[in-house]
Structures are given as structure tokens and as C-alpha cells.
Subunit: 227 residues, 2 copies
Amino acid sequence: MESNLRVLQTCPLFDGIAPADYEKALDCLGSIQRSFAVGETILALGSAPKAVGILLSGSATIASYDAAGHRNVLAKLEPGELFGESYTLAAVEQLPVEVIGNEAAEALFIDFQALLSDILTACPFHGILIGNMLSIVARKNVQLNERQAILAKRRMRDKILTFLAGYMVRQKSNAVAIPFNRDELADFLCVDRSALSAELSRMRDEGWIQFRKNHFTVLTDNISSII
Amino acid sequence: MESNLRVLQTCPLFDGIAPADYEKALDCLGSIQRSFAVGETILALGSAPKAVGILLSGSATIASYDAAGHRNVLAKLEPGELFGESYTLAAVEQLPVEVIGNEAAEALFIDFQALLSDILTACPFHGILIGNMLSIVARKNVQLNERQAILAKRRMRDKILTFLAGYMVRQKSNAVAIPFNRDELADFLCVDRSALSAELSRMRDEGWIQFRKNHFTVLTDNISSII
DNA sequence: TCAAGTATGTTGCATTTACAACAAAAGGAG
DNA sequence: CTCCTTTTGTTGTAAATGCAACATACTTGA
């Protein structure tokens, strides 16, 4: 196995495929591997995406341009991560984002439409990849739904409580650890960091929550009326 | 063909399958059909979704409960529409929403996990359904991404411009028709309706846009600096 | 332990938005 | 046309948030 394929072990698209089979599977799937120089465009804004991408090495940035023409970084890609899969599978004609390499990078491209049409005649890898892809896109969907539920709240306090409620359900506890510092949390909730700190303090003073660093407790007295 | 299966013609999951084949396909897929009384729970909050649902007749409501315990209607389901597909395919353990029949209703349930494991040995319908499902979930993903980009804006004006920019790209024009009245637009942007009207008027007065009912024009002088 | 750097909290003020109440305009049915 | 309903716009005020500037606490590495 080429060493740059090892990273596929971290890619959920290849769950259930043995590392020893990667090369065989990729051949069978008709994948293409390409190298990119620093700053080179991996997927161009406005282009029609034709294949699902997987970053094998290096790093890349997914960005869009907002209504004021400002570049807006949506995500940083690390090796093993997928990109462009939603737009490709949805067959959008003009990519509303671009993917640019931050450093010398290699990427793998899989023509999923071709893969789907080969579905019956082909090797078992086809089925595994398709099942994995469905699961990946569906999970992203669920995550997007949850964030949308948060951003849909008009008041910061409701955003915070909705955000925490998600972790409470998953961690089955009213005391949760979140994977963000204040800066990141403010970005996630789309609010100002200092305003977030102020609101958190108010909520503490009013007896709704306790917190220390990234550990938050929603106080049980209030939970009964919350969930 | 049973008459209540005709509605599958409007369901994108069955694109590419002839109506005459519906019954055969559903048999082969191992689908289950169930009837529900008025107000009966079709999918229960907190349950583990096992199958993708399709409403065949009647109507239903998808709802969640917010942090204050208030019921929140997320969508109304009409015949032919899918429900629970993201949560099922993402294998979430506790459904964060519920589906309740508004009137006597019939629904079809397809065990997609079983369908995926049968992928190679089975009939061509399997492949079609899987491809369609990938496309459906991916499209929803793209839509959610776009709405998220809108809701992420902190100022109403930026939400409005981001919203309009999406239609401008799709309609390839700076004069677009939107499928919402003011009330619905306010809901979509998660802002107050009267505040929306006020902001739209300000934007008109400042020369950014023109509008009449659901027709909006983003003025070209400003577009150059926008896109 | 100290110093520098980073993260978080606090405050006052400016801006934005929600909210409520009402006004005006647009449609529809008779 | 007129009345009624629905939709959209306007305005003033209160509330929420952004923003900037600064204070405090926590980390880290020498």
C-alpha cells in the first residue's frame, strides 16, 4: 500500500474496508489521484463538481465569498477528510465554495455517479462505499439540523440553552463538557465573544447555569421546566 | 397498483421507477405499510428510528420541543414526502423530533439498512433507490448549508443580502422572485416581520434594493461591490 | 517563580432588533 | 363599488447585542 493511502484508515468512507484492500478498491472504483502545489485551486468556485474528493496529504481551506465580496473560511481540511461530497451528489451546477491547498497537497477523487451506475455488477467495495457515504451525508445532515435549531433562536440565551441541551442529551447528564473555548463557542453560536461571556455570567448570576472553562452545568431546578 | 401508491410518483425516492413497478419494488424491498389514526404518533420522540418513512395519505406534523418545553413545529408532511430519513441513515439512537398524524394517515416504511446489505444480490430497484436517496440527502445538505450561511449573519441586512444572493445565482439575474411572503420570509430569516419590513424599506431608501411583493431587485451599482 | 502570552470576564456606549400598536395598501366576495 | 380580510409598512420604545477598551485569571516556558 502506498504510504499516502494509510490516511484512509481515518476516513469514514473506507470503514469496513481493510487497509490491504485500499489499492485494489480504488482501482476498481476508478479513482484519480492528483497533486497540488501551494495555493493551487483544488476545486474552483463556480465549477461543476464531478467527483467526491478526499485529501490524502497536506492541508486545504474551504472558503466562500459573502455578499460584500469578502472571503469567508468555512473549514480547514486535514488528511483523510472528504470535500465536495454534498455538492457532487446533489449535482449542483455551480460550486458555491472553493477549495484551495494551503501547502503542497495530494487528493483522491472518486466519481460517485459512475460508482452508483456500476452498483450491481461491481465488487463488494462499491456497496460498502455507498453505504458509508449515505451514513456520512446523513450524519452531516443531522448536525446541520441541530446547528440550524441553535441559530434559529433569536436570543443569545436561547442559543446557549439549545446548544447545551444537545450535549446534555448526548452525554445523558446535566453536566457536560463542550469541545470549544469561548472564542470558538462564540463563532459556533454566531455571537460576539464578549457578549457571550457577559450573557453566560448573567445566566450564572440568575441561577440557570454553572460553568468553569469548558465544563457547563445546567442547574436541575430549571431543567425540570426545560426538558 | 393500489391507488395509495400513485402518490409515489411525486416522491423523488422513486424517480426512475415506473409506477407499474411500484408494488413489485416495494415487495422486493421488504417495505411495511401502516395506518394511523388522527393524532396517533407515527414516530415517537426519543425512539430509535429503524426505517425511512414515506407518507402515503393524510398529513402529519414533524415537531420538536425546545429548551423551554414548548412544542415547535418543524414541518408539515404531505403525501409523497419522506420523513425520518436523515436520522435513520445516521443511525441516531434517540429521535430528537416526533411525527404525529394530523388526520387519518397511511405511511410506508423501508428498512434501508437491510436494503444496503442486500445491495449486490438484489433487484435493480435497490440500486435506484439508494442512488435517489443519496441525491435527496445531499440536496437537503446543500439547502441546510445555505440557510446556515444566512442565519450565521449577525445583522438582518446581511441575512437579507445573503438570502437574495442565493436566488440571484440560481436565477442568474439581479431581479429575482422569491417563494415567500413577508411573514414567511421573516420566519425563514428568523427575524421579526415588522422589523424585516422596516429594514427592507431602509435598504430601498439607501439605494440597495427595489422590491414589490415577492419580486426583489438588487441594484447593479451595488452588485459590483457585492459579487 | 516570574514574565509574557492567552483566555476569559466586565463595563459603557452605540447600534440593532424585537415588540406592540397602528396605518396603509392590496385583494376578494358580495 | 364597498366592506372585509389579509398583507405590508411605519413608528416609538424597550430590550438585546455588538463593539471597544480594559481588567482579571489562567498557562506556559524560561
